[in-house]
Symmetry: C2
Subunit: 173 residues, 2 copies
DNA sequence: GCTGAAACCATTATAAG
DNA sequence: CTTATAATGGTTTCAGC
């Protein structure tokens, strides 16, 4: 976090848009030499800022199943176990854990598979409640906030986010 | 979906692991020539199977804010509007829409920003209820299911997934 | 979908700021 | 310590088959 300058962010932004973009192309855009780009990228990989170079795939075109969002409300202290159980599954690609002991997983499953995962793979004694939602759309817009594009308007109305999650009911108009 | 053979899937799998892997390297692994890999990748891009070549970034290292998962329960018919409002925001990178009119967004926000998004950016008359959860962990394991690795055990206990989502309460032991 | 050739690109070593 | 330059070795693409 501390060790990234604007050049790093610019490189990340360009690679985010197209991870196969040639380094000499990037060098020209950013205003440094190609070896510098190479060095910076290597460093960003070592720092773990870049997890991997990968693809944004349309999963509906490569697998038979339907996309689902599974929301698990877990017993306290079991979150990391459940992540370790879910993440390696072939049908699961994204797993989020939140401070209120929920785990949300995005998966592509056959009709019978979701049931098998919930009953066989997971230790259900750790699950307080769960919810399976059929995905109808999903958008991924990876963005790199450039250092100076920080549009932080000073604002004293800072809304604190309680770790347990804020839940607010609004009248149906 | 119909037009992908095992070679395509193998190429996708290798590129998913490392999107910068050289095409002649891939060609060797897959058993075709480099130009064939190039042609296939181009076709997969045109088909929309490959959305883009991109990076898996550790967002906590490149931005000041905290990661949150925002769950919006919307009024019917407003889902696509809300996606269009959320997706372009700099702080939002992932948006999921489910059949039961929920939109789940993953964002990295400053303390004041989440409030601003909810009140200024969104048309709150479209939101029935919302929920902001603090992210503590997130895993992305992009997987390409190879054509023959389809481990579908025949199973007649097919659990249908209602479009409205299944919600089941389990006793707290 | 393959082959071969030409254009292009990444990386290394080296030198300079 | 960081960046630029130049050369090498590797990669991608384009014709032609």
């Amino acid at each position: 976090m501390v060790e990234l300058d604007e050049t790093d962010l610019h490189i990340l932004q360009l690679l985010t848009e197209n991870a196969r973009r040639p380094y000499n192309d990037i060098a020209e855009q950013v205003g440094v030499s190609p070896p510098t780009v190479s060095d910076r990228v290597e460093r960003l990989e070592e720092l773990g800022v870049i997890g991997r170079f990968t693809l944004d795939l349309d999963r509906s075109q490569i697998s038979e199943g339907v996309g689902v969002l599974v929301d698990l409300h877990l017993r306290p202290g079991t979150v990391h176990d459940v992540i370790d159980q879910l993440a390696p599954l072939e049908s699961v690609d994204h797993v989020y854990a939140t401070a209120d002991a929920h785990v949300v997983a995005r998966a592509t499953v056959d009709e019978c598979e979701i049931h098998r995962i919930l009953t066989d793979t997971l230790d259900l004694s750790q699950v307080v409640e769960y919810d399976v939602r059929l995905l109808i759309d999903s958008v991924w817009e990876p963005k790199v906030r450039s250092a100076n594009a920080d549009d932080q308007t000073t604002h004293d109305d800072t809304a604190a986010i309680p770790a347990g999650g804020a839940s607010i009911e609004i009248d149906g108009q």
